[in-house]
Subunit: 348 residues, 2 copies
């Protein structure tokens, strides 16, 4: 069985969830035909740890926040990201740090260092994909490694790979999505009679919404995902700033009630469309959808993407768009894609 | 570029739609890396036609119903299915005859003859898959050919392949679906105030429902699809007759109105579930779904399948479940799978 050595960059919720799965369920990976071994971890808080024969995940997962890898064999109080990414004996770099919506850093550099040193990269980080996706994909191809990022759009729910692998031979004319669970939850609660602020507070209490909900409510989170979908699936070459973006902050309880009475449901829709002249239009805006629209029935914090195709019409996939385990699964699906690439190269 | 020679078995709506795409859009296939050439057609009405250097599709598509292939070079007034399937120079047999829900014939024999003579088979026919799927898949593996049947469940909307390729590494605990467009349309119209018979008549007028709507309304169409999902995706070994089946014939307008008032929507649900003891429960029955259920919002004649997984929870795909072009696309997706197999074998 093939063993892939992983370097986990960032040791927050998502990479911890992946580490827990590797610790607890080797059989899950064995059934896929490979074994995963974590040989390096870096984190702003913990520092870095490199152990070529495999880190004892039970021990590091038990370390309380506030402690440090310093003092462990191969440990350092500093993250040493560049050194670890370039020089650790990892085959696959698992990038799950935070997203900067401005320049995608430090994730963009992490991805580059990995690719330049001949390592595959899997990431759940929207930033590098939305802002520098094509450049990084080209760099990966030049270096003979994979750059996979299924989790950047809808956590583990397949979207990018589904469109690429399951809709082959179809012309894709538009992609519409409910790509932010918080705003969808808030709109649903407004349909139940809550005001916008009240609904946001409730979402915060339930842990859906950030303390600062601006990116969710104002549409900038969806904007990054729309840029990814436009570039990956409709061969556009756009930046997030090219996506005309309006959030749900000005939707009132009256708007919602009036729409409902007319059989319509307000949703925050991210959309990419190929116009008749071949140009690409990309928007984020609240839309009052009729009941028969494939996205009208998507409720709660669920996310969904609807693909408009020439032969099939609308094909829609819905599922979770967040969550630490759900997002860790995106990394697993990316590692499966890396494995297919590696096995294909071995056969060839 | 690879050329695949096709034998079209049955020249009704679906295979005619495929032939039209091959005639009109060679670029669609070229972009997939192959060319399709039809070298044989058989049909109960037209007879059979074998032309090894490629049939002129424009001519045969222009032939009116009631005419015959007799008199054309390589033509015969008889379908000669066995001879054509075994001896024509086809690489891929495209089986799109009618489904017998009792024994799957004549499609089962068509598939066997093709596999035994070393040809790949793609089909949109529920019968052979629901009744003899595992036996035929084993036979195909033994003969080094592919047996592909994505269209047997939801026409071109990816379901079987999506579960197998996009949900790798997940434990699939249940599959629930809205797998019959007619009954879903009828239930929706009953929500709008029509009676059952009235809604069925409307569906017939619109061309959704057959003259005899028993298989749609009584659940036996869904039963075949549930058997396929159970065997393919949950490794069950069941026959359609093992699926406990109740249709929507006894759902009244009162039932529908009462449910709606309570926020529930009646849907005809096909379901396969792995019970705690490992056994498989398979049912078809009307269920009043709460608004938040992933299948509650599936409206009109749309079909959908919701996969219950361990790490992602529910992932749902919806799209068309019928239509000649939509079903022809299923055949294209199957031919893509054949091509991947062939190219993989070439590399190895």
């Amino acid at each position: 069985m093939t063993t892939y050595n992983l370097a986990l960059i960032g040791f927050g919720g998502v990479n911890r969830a992946l580490a827990e799965l590797i610790r607890d369920e080797p059989g899950r990976f064995a059934s896929l035909g490979f074994e995963l071994r974590v040989v390096a971890i870096t984190d702003l808080a913990f520092g870095s740890l490199v152990q070529g024969d495999g880190i004892d995940l039970a021990s590091v997962l038990a370390m309380p926040r506030g402690s440090s890898f310093e003092g462990l064999p191969g440990g350092s109080p500093d993250p040493r990201n560049e050194d670890v990414i370039r020089n650790s004996p990892a085959d696959v770099v698992v990038e799950a740090t935070f997203t900067s919506p401005i320049d995608g850093e430090p994730a963009v550099s992490h991805v580059k260092w990995a690719i330049e040193s001949g390592k595959h990269v899997v990431t759940t980080n929207k930033g590098p994909v939305a802002l520098r996706g094509q450049e990084l994909s080209t760099l990966a191809a030049e270096n003979g490694v994979r750059f996979e990022y299924e989790g950047a759009v809808m956590s583990g729910t397949p979207v990018i790979r589904l469109a690429q692998k399951m809709l082959g031979g179809l012309e894709l004319n538009a992609v519409q999505g409910i790509l932010n669970g918080t705003s969808n939850y808030v709109l649903g609660r407004m349909e139940a009679g809550l005001g916008l602020d009240e609904a946001i507070s409730e979402a915060q209490d339930l842990g859906f919404a950030e303390a600062d909900p601006t990116a969710d409510i104002g549409g900038s989170d969806v904007r990054l995902k729309v840029a990814i979908l436009a570039n990956e699936l409709l061969d556009a070459n756009i930046r997030p700033s090219d996506v005309e973006t309006t959030g749900i902050q000005d939707i009132t309880s009256d708007d919602v009630a009036q729409a409902l009475a007319g059989g319509l449901r307000w949703k925050l829709i991210g959309e990419v469309r190929r116009e008749d002249d071949g140009s690409i239009a990309a928007t984020v805006q609240p839309v009052a959808l009729p009941a028969g629209h494939p996205l009208a029935g998507i409720s709660g914090a669920t996310n969904a993407v609807s693909f408009t195709t020439d032969l099939l019409g609308a094909v829609t996939v819905s599922g979770p768009g967040a969550g630490r385990v759900e997002t860790a699964y995106a990394l697993i699906s990316d590692i499966i894609a890396v494995d297919e690439f590696v096995q294909g190269a071995v056969r060839a």
